[in-house]
């Protein structure tokens, strides 16, 4: 009987195509839009991913990582004096204008890491050595920024090509030379500008005229002290704000700065609304197309259902047959939809724009919603089938 149900489903190719287009389009829209949404949101806490430390200490008023409120230099020693701290290092972070050799200006994110220990240094350097930052007027730049700030070079044949900045190239920060000694691979930021790494002391020189230059204190707890416990102690003793640094959306704790940043952007920008609308649209389009198609499919096959009923099958069996059909269509639609979504995603990840993060949770939610849509459609059909009079098969 169930085999018969599947034969009915796959027999009518036009209806099947319609049904699958509706369901898969809906799955595609939901999975792809949610992934771009999470991708963009993951850009908002990029510094937390690039600069790894267990605990970040900031000013009391900080809500999100991109908007640091400057602190006093001695706050580093105050944090170091808190029990449970293993070590603490200063971190500078600010947006600056870089003047390129061709006269153009570009915004960059200046990151000043501890001069002695390089705590906060990027994990991957594709070119150069971190130690070269000890040379005067030196910086590291990220790969993407090196391309962005690259200079246009006209080839002998007349074609213009952008050559990325490399080791030895210079630009100016606040009228001071910044010489590139390395290229690092870090995640891109929501704020747009490329990351330029230098030492904390030199960052002070580059930001000449700025009164306070300490943006964050990076802290590592002593063995046996959890980051969250240490946060409590630091806040109690110094009156500053301490954050943990987990960046995984699904497991980050109450005190994660990435979490706070995520919700700050959720509250203060139109990003969730815009993408939420797209996801809802996907849901409605899915429900409308597949519901309507499934209903007309049931309507068209009503005669067969009546025949099956006349042969003695109960409404329960018919309902299960419909459920099986809906389930099969739903699963196929889901598979095709997320297949397309991941294909688009892979292209996006390859290009780096726009950001795309497909969470397993999004996949599960998409599956649940697509099955929900198809079961809704089946439900509409079931009402019709339950009401059908077995005798109608003889009247036709």
């Amino acid at each position: 009987m169930y085999r018969l149900a599947l034969n009915m489903l796959f027999g009518d190719r036009a209806k099947l195509a319609m049904l699958l287009v509706g369901l898969s389009f809906s799955a595609l829209l939901m999975a792809q839009q949610s992934s771009v949404f999470f991708g963009i949101m993951s850009w908002t806490y990029t510094p937390m991913v690039n600069i790894r430390a267990s605990v970040w200490v900031s000013d009391r008023e900080v809500e999100q990582v991109n908007d640091a409120k400057p602190m006093r230099d001695t706050d580093v020693t105050r944090v170091r004096s808190v029990d449970g701290v293993s070590w603490a290092a200063p971190l500078h972070s600010s947006i600056m204008q870089a003047r390129l050799p061709n006269g153009n200006f570009k915004l960059i994110s200046l990151v000043g890491i501890d001069s002695d220990t390089f705590a906060g240094a990027p994990a991957v350097l594709t070119v150069g050595r971190i130690e070269d930052l000890r040379l005067p007027n030196t910086v590291l730049i990220d790969e993407w920024g090196a391309n962005l700030l690259g200079r246009a070079v006209t080839r002998p044949d007349g074609t213009v090509e952008t050559v990325p900045l490399g080791v030895g190239d210079t630009f100016e920060l606040n009228d001071t030379e910044a010489r590139i000694v390395g290229v690092c691979r870090v995640k891109r930021a929501f704020t747009g500008g490329p990351f330029v790494y230098t030492t904390y002391d030199r960052a002070k020189a580059y930001t000449a005229g700025v009164r306070r230059t300490l943006s964050y204190v990076l802290v590592e707890p002593r063995p046996g002290v959890t980051p969250a416990e240490l946060c409590d102690r630091i806040e109690a003793e110094t009156g500053l704000r301490a954050w943990t640094s987990e960046t995984d959306l699904w497991t980050w704790g109450e005190r994660s700065l990435a979490r706070s940043t995520f919700w700050w952007f959720w509250r203060n920008t139109g990003i969730p609304f815009s993408f939420g609308t797209a996801v809802l649209l996907g849901l409605f389009v899915g429900i409308a197309i597949s519901g309507q198609t499934f209903y007309s499919f049931v309507l068209e096959n009503l005669r067969y259902f009546a025949a099956i009923k006349a042969m003695g099958a109960g409404s329960g069996l018919l309902a299960r047959m419909l459920l099986l059909q809906a389930l099969a269509a739903g699963l196929l639609g889901f598979g095709l939809g997320v297949g397309m979504a991941q294909a688009i995603g892979r292209v996006m990840i390859e290009k780096g724009m726009p950001p795309f993060v497909l969470y397993p949770q999004v996949l599960v939610a998409t599956l649940v919603l697509v099955l929900g849509i198809s079961l809704c459609s089946a439900l509409i059909g079931m009402v019709k089938v339950a009401r059908v009079d077995p005798a109608s098969v003889f009247r036709a």
Partner: protein, 293 residues
């Protein structure tokens, strides 16, 4: 009828999509592990520590040697890092004006003394009056004093080291003009024993007590993770009773004051295995545990 292959095909494509998506989703979790910094930081090994930033200085405190009057620099015998004894010349100012003046003063003194000497035998003969003789003698003494003054001024043009020590800094070269009361042209200090001036944020000052032990980590002394302990034990000397605006972090004169600090002096022996220089920065941990000795 080829219904079955279609079914299979669709199922295969859908399954492939799900698998590919699952694979992509498995790479989504983003929580890079916290790795230790490339170089070993100054690590606290126990609770109850007070952190301060310090500046290494000579025990006798560095002497900022000044000039007595403004003038051109003629010669700078002081060479940086060379040992000097008390009285050794450090800096010589231009004496082209002073030397003839001194010579003239000496000549004037000799002339006045000569007059007084030649009048002396005529005393009581009536050839010179008592008052004229006295006047000549006083004039001779005055002229001699002027000559001494000029000689002293000439001598003052040579600035000498007030202490036994080492020349730490020379910031003038012959031919430059130095103003009296300006930036000290020469700094000398006794660097055989060093001390460290620690700045403690005024907000943590109440935790500081007399006699607490401490240890320091020299800045710029790099150690890869796993390197042996590089801390230096410090001995308490005194707490400076006067809380001052913080200046030690860069030492730059334009440094802006945003907090005040309690200064505490610690002393340490020069480590045998590595150099320590006056003016270096140090991260200091002061042990405030009650049982610390």
């Amino acid at each position: 009828m080829n219904k079955f292959p279609l079914r299979l095909l669709l199922a295969a494509v859908a399954l492939g999509g799900v698998l590919a998506a699952t694979q992509l989703a498995s790479t989504a979790a983003e929580n890079p592990a916290v790795s230790p910094p490339p170089y070993q930081p100054a690590v606290r090994d126990k609770d109850g520590l007070l952190s301060a930033s310090g500046l290494v200085e000579a025990v006798a405190e560095n002497t900022l040697v000044g000039v007595p009057f403004a003038g051109l620099v003629a010669d700078v015998p002081a060479k940086v890092s060379r040992a000097v004894k008390a009285g050794d010349p450090l800096l010589v100012l231009d004496t082209r004006e002073l030397r003839p003046a001194a010579a003239a003063a000496v000549a004037a003194a000799e002339r006045a003394e000569d007059v007084a000497r030649r009048m002396q035998p005529l005393r009581g003969t009536g050839a010179v009056s008592e008052s004229a003789l006295n006047e000549a003698q006083f004039a001779a003494r005055e002229a001699r004093a002027r000559a001494d003054l000029a000689a002293a001024q000439l001598e003052r043009a040579t600035v000498r080291s007030p202490i036994d020590g080492t020349v730490l800094q020379v910031s003038v070269r012959p031919g430059e003009f130095v103003a009296a009361g300006g930036k000290a042209p020469v700094v000398v200090g006794d660097i055989s024993r060093l001390q460290i001036r620690c700045d403690i944020d005024e907000q943590m000052a109440p935790r500081m007590r007399e006699g607490l032990p401490a240890k320091g980590f020299l800045k710029g002394e790099l150690a890869k993770p796993g390197a042996p302990d590089r801390s230096l034990p410090l001995r308490f000397v005194r707490i400076e009773p006067f809380v001052v605006p913080k200046t030690s972090l860069t030492g730059a004169s334009a440094e802006r004051v945003d907090t005040r600090v309690l200064q505490v002096i610690y002393q340490f022996d020069r480590p045998a295995d590595r150099p320590v220089f006056v003016g270096q920065q140090m991260d200091v941990y002061i042990d405030t545990n009650p049982d610390a000795k």
